[in-house]
């Protein structure tokens, strides 16, 4: 992982407050947990039926029946509980999930999220993403700032099919931390070595800047 991405993930870990129930999506979000202190009081949820995820295990120590929703072999902690898929999403939809961190294809300035379908190209299906995006009390996106072709992922409007409307509160990228506000994208922090001009150029919608010094990560 690049240094900027690593700092972004470490910065994102500070979003997790003690006592929260948190669901971390596949990819970058999963890495966030590595930046929490070992005894940090948090309950990690995975939608395939576990509250209280423990460390990821290598194949030779894994349990064939114990995976997270991304298919990684995980473990339990003291106080973990298993449950079925209906209970797992009951927890999400009824407001017991304090925070989710998700990947994104696109995020709009209104906080719309698209992350499940590229029509005609890639349609794996939504999995549990719609409910996580729509019902977690706080939704944070972790993503590269641009796609592989260099096009902005932060846009005035999503062009891809939506996962959920107006759900995203904050975006962490390798270039910046950006809030979704009633006025659109608002810069909170920028990555070391990334200029405001570069950032504005790489963002597909207006980006409002804070007054005064802008912190870096």
């Amino acid at each position: 992982m690049s240094d900027a991405r690593n700092r972004m993930v470490a910065r994102a870990a500070r979003e997790i407050a003690p006592g929260m129930v948190v669901n971390l999506g596949i990819g970058l979000p999963t890495q966030v947990v590595n930046h929490l202190p070992a005894d940090f009081p948090v309950c990690l949820h995975t939608e395939n039926g576990l509250a209280g995820i423990g460390p990821t295990l290598p194949p030779d120590r894994a349990d064939r029946n114990l995976i997270d929703a991304g298919g990684a072999y995980v473990s339990t902690v003291p106080g973990s509980a298993f449950f079925d898929s209906a209970v797992s999403f009951a927890l999400v939809r009824s407001g017991r999930l304090d925070l989710t961190m998700l990947g994104a294809f696109e995020v709009s300035q209104a906080g719309d999220l698209a992350n499940w379908k590229v029509p005609g190209k890639f349609s794996p299906g939504p999995g549990g993403g719609i409910e996580l995006a729509q019902k977690a009390r706080r939704v944070i996106v972790l993503s590269t700032h641009t796609d592989r072709a260099g096009n902005p992922k932060l846009k005035t409007e999503c062009s891809l099919p939506l996962t959920a409307q107006g759900c995203v509160a904050r975006v962490f990228t390798d270039m910046a931390v950006i809030d979704i506000t009633p006025g659109g994208f608002a810069l909170v922090e920028h990555a070391q070595g990334v200029s405001i001009a570069e950032l504005t150029e790489a963002t597909g919608a207006p980006l409002s800047l804070p007054t005064g010094d802008i912190p870096t990560f």
Partner: protein, 230 residues
């Protein structure tokens, strides 16, 4: 990572329940009724409550104390035949009683706990319980819309708990408890035994900890929990 500790005193667990609150109470008859939490709700004295419970217990037991103290304005239930006070208050117009088919009450509570708006059912379609309810057709068949129920507070009786709020229930004391433990903004569980974190097998937890806000250990099992000798 470790999981947070939710054990507290019964006074703190129930503190601040407001007048007019909706309170779900687990139990079917004696088994699963959180008698100790109910006594604390009487002591703290919140008024004008809407209570959601399968039944009204019996004279001098459980919900009957809340009826005697005049704290209950409305009761959403399935059967009150063993509580003469409940039937008398209802007949006198001093207690509003809403009857539900028992499994539909269970589903309405579960729907609230599952973050749904409601369920569609044909249960009670030809009875007075269906009167005034919305209906909707699917493939030409008519269903009644039964709306989800949620509460401000749920009072739960568990057999064992751990400090994170994982719960199990024993025998027929399970009944409505795991459903109500999903369906309230504040879920308070009394447990006959509180175990250290990890004391319950993760496969045998009946209510997962994330649903539970407060865990109170019972220091004694009072007479109300005992065999009823009629």
């Amino acid at each position: 990572m470790r999981l947070p500790d939710k054990t507290t005193t019964i006074e703190d667990a129930l503190a601040g329940i407001a007048d007019g609150a909706t309170v779900m109470i687990g139990g079917f008859g004696v088994p699963g009724t959180p008698f100790t939490l109910i006594h604390e709700l009487v002591r703290q004295g919140a008024q004008n409550l809407t209570v959601i419970k399968n039944d009204a217990n019996e004279t001098d037991m459980g919900v009957d104390h809340l009826l005697a103290s005049g704290q209950v304005a409305r009761l959403i239930t399935t059967h009150i035949g063993l509580n003469p006070r409940a039937m008398a208050l209802m007949n006198e117009g001093r207690l509003e009683v809403e009857f539900n088919a028992q499994g539909i009450l269970a589903e309405r509570v579960r729907a609230g706990g599952a973050g749904l708006g409601g369920i569609l059912t044909d249960i009670a379609e030809d009875t007075e319980l269906a009167e005034g309810k919305q209906t909707l057709a699917i493939d030409g068949k008519s269903y009644i819309v039964e709306t989800a129920l949620r509460a401000d507070v749920a009072l739960i009786h568990a057999n064992r708990a751990d400090a994170f709020g994982n719960l199990d229930y024993v025998a027929t004391a399970r009944n409505f408890n795991p459903l109500m433990a999903m369906a309230a903004s504040r879920v308070i569980a009394e447990a006959e035994q509180v175990l250290p974190m990890g004391g319950l097998s993760p496969d045998d937890v009946h209510t997962p900890g994330p649903f539970v806000d407060h865990v109170v250990e019972l220091t004694q099992i009072s007479e109300e929990y005992a065999i009823v000798r009629r």
